[in-house]
Symmetry: C2
Subunit: 430 residues, 2 copies
């Protein structure tokens, strides 16, 4: 017997039939004797409809400002999850399972005052825990809480994952199951080997650490919102990514069963550490190089301050030690869509920064080797460099952290590079 939080996204609750299917998943866990809380998103498409209304309303009312009150946005958009949570509670009741819906303000799930993108500050899980103990399923409207102003606050897009992890922390759950349209986290993108069945060499990971998942998620393996992984790491919430498409009746939910999926957990729980866990990549990166920048204190601030003001999201940053201490080269990446804005911003700041020329290249990809085991294994980076060199792939830039090596290369070589690295680190499926 365990205490579980289950989370289902918008596609899983898109209509009454799918909500019934979700209820079957929940009933299965409930019937296996587990204490269950479910967190649901709005019906697929509903949030977009509501957000569009919010965006259109000022225009219709004749305002050129196109602004809206984020507190009203929250009250409007949170109604989507309110509907789904009620419908799922009714579905469960109709199947003989005791259930009730919980809105953010009823729990209460308290947030800060940043409406539209609120952060969770506190959850009182006591009422839910007490009712779960009596066999009642808690159906929680995701994405929402209540701010210090006693008004509904939403957690920002994708916030239902974050809600689920926060609820799991609040009720001290043994596991938070994220039901999604993939059946787990893979060593890399399975589509890299084409669409032929069985051709893919990517393998589903049974377990991955929070730290690795953060690197994988932020690097393009978009299974879970980054914020939810951070929260899971902070509170040690064991988070299990699994498929919502599996037939509920075919799954064994008893203690000790091992359903397909990937557990995101603390590294202590992973007995056999792999050196490298996965290969992530992010396409549509653009490289910008500033040549002969004067190498003086404050130069980084002079470069990146104006870019931040222009809302350009800068990623990899490489600055070499200058040869004579006077001028250096500086290279960094931005999303390709931001390239034009970034270059014009830099050109406008040419005098204050003090550089000779700005060069840019839009067609880049960042490939990252991720693995918590590389902390204790030497030679991981050189293995990558050697393997890429053998394929004739030119490395534009390199950055490293404790558990990842990121390499910037030409986009044309993206698939080849990922497949090569996947193979050289022994991740290929037998």
């Amino acid at each position: 017997m365990a205490r579980l939080v289950m989370k289902f996204g918008g596609t899983s609750v898109a209509d009454l039939e799918r909500i019934h299917n979700v209820a079957r998943h929940v009933k299965r866990e409930h019937d296996a004797g587990h204490e269950v809380a479910v967190v649901v998103s709005a019906m697929s498409g509903k949030t977009n409809e509501l957000v569009n209304w919010v965006n259109e309303m000022p225009k219709v009312a004749g305002s050129n400002a196109q602004i809206y009150d984020a507190r009203e946005y929250d009250a409007i958009v949170a109604s989507g999850e309110q509907v789904t949570s009620g419908l799922l509670a009714i579905a469960l009741q109709s199947m003989g399972v005791d259930a009730r819906s919980w809105l953010g303000w009823q729990i209460p799930l308290k947030t800060n005052a940043v409406h539209g993108a609120a952060r969770i500050e506190d959850i009182d899980g006591s009422d839910i825990i007490e009712r779960m103990g009596r066999g009642q399923v808690a159906v929680v409207a995701g994405f929402q809480g209540i701010g210090p102003d006693n008004r509904i606050a939403t957690l920002g897009r994708g916030g239902s994952d974050t809600s689920a992890v926060a609820i799991a922390a609040g009720v001290k759950a043994d596991r938070c199951d994220i039901y999604t349209d993939v059946d787990g986290v893979y060593t890399t993108d399975p589509r890299l080997w084409g669409k032929t069945a069985g051709a893919s060499k990517a393998q589903r990971l049974d377990k991955i650490t929070f730290e690795e998942m953060l690197e994988m998620a932020s690097l393009g393996a978009k299974v879970l919102q980054v914020r939810s992984v951070e929260l899971a790491m902070v509170h040690g919430v064991r988070t299990f990514v699994r498929s919502s498409f599996d037939d509920p009746d075919s799954i064994d939910s008893s203690d000790g069963a091992n359903p397909p999926g990937t557990l995101i957990c603390d590294e202590d729980e992973i007995v056999e550490q792999q050196t490298v866990t996965g290969i992530a990549y992010a396409k549509d990166e653009a490289q910008i190089s500033l040549r002969r920048v004067s190498d003086k204190p404050g130069i980084a601030a002079a470069v990146f301050g104006p870019l931040a003001d222009a809302h350009v999201n800068v990623d990899m940053i490489v600055q070499n030690v200058s040869e004579d201490g006077s001028v250096t080269d500086m290279t960094f990446t931005v999303p390709s869509s931001d390239l034009e804005k970034a270059v014009s911003t830099l050109e406008a700041s040419k005098e204050s920064i003090g550089y000779e020329v700005v060069q840019s290249d839009p067609g880049m990809v960042k490939v990252s080797v991720v693995g918590i085991g590389m902390r204790s294994h030497a030679g991981v980076a050189s293995t990558a460099f050697k393997a890429l060199a053998e394929k004739g792939i030119n490395i534009r830039a390199i950055t490293t952290s404790e558990i990842k090596i990121s390499i910037l290369i030409d986009q044309d070589y993206a698939e080849l590079a990922v497949r090569t690295l996947h193979s050289v680190y022994g991740l290929d499926k037998e």
Copy 2:
């Protein structure tokens, strides 16, 4: 300067353009210096969509019971008003008017525990009053409050009228304006004179008492929910029925202006009392007569108990004093749609009631003469009987109250009877 509550129904907020139009009405009152709270319904059709989902969900989940938890119904259905109140607040803000939305639980508007058809128990208007005093428009989601279980409770269909009157009482408003698809309450149904423009002799009433409006509303003049009129009467809320189709810019909202509409108010406020205020009628009534019922104590209970159990809504009841104290005739009306059920119920109880024969006639209409002035004027009833007799209209049954006379006649004579009475009491437009 006055404190106003304005109420707009689902048709008035059916889309963003119409919400903008509502905002123009609100801005007009706000700009005239009034303190304003607005109560809104859900967008037209939205409540039905949500209610259908609630009704369908148990079937989809495989339950034959077709029941649902009224607390979940409330959470789901109340989301409709939540969306409109937020959108109207944004529309007002976009037009430069300070505004915020209020959900039932935020005010709080406290109800009893009867989810789905809750009664209002208490309203704390202090926050809204304080903010109205600072020039902020309160946009209140109608139809909803919060129950003693800290869950959303709805007031039942048409509950937005009731919300508006309750809010008006809670904030001590000078007037509650109900914007609707008619421009007021008429002496009778204007359509009785056909569709030719100008042919109608019905007149809009400038004022009508709460008591008269209750009789008019429950007798078929469906301008306002009966519950909201009752509440207005109890709390003395001056309620003004007016058109939502009037161009907001063409209306004078200054103090002392006299926009078109009908004020429902205390009789003290009506200087010149008419003897008869209006003629109401209800079609599709069926008459049932029990012949030679044994005239003993408890006989009425024996007849109407089984009908109540069968959810048959009995209206006019006429029982004559029996000639010899042993048997009597008993006549009453039910909606035509309930006739079959009523007759079979009575036949099943024939022995316990003790009557000889049951007769019924489905095609009846109830015509009612309503007027608070008839309390102090004799001869009102005889005027009606004489006028109908002159037209050859046969009266089947009569019931009277202090301020109304109801007459049951054959449906064929409905229009003739109403037009005749409208004329004989001097209500015809010049």
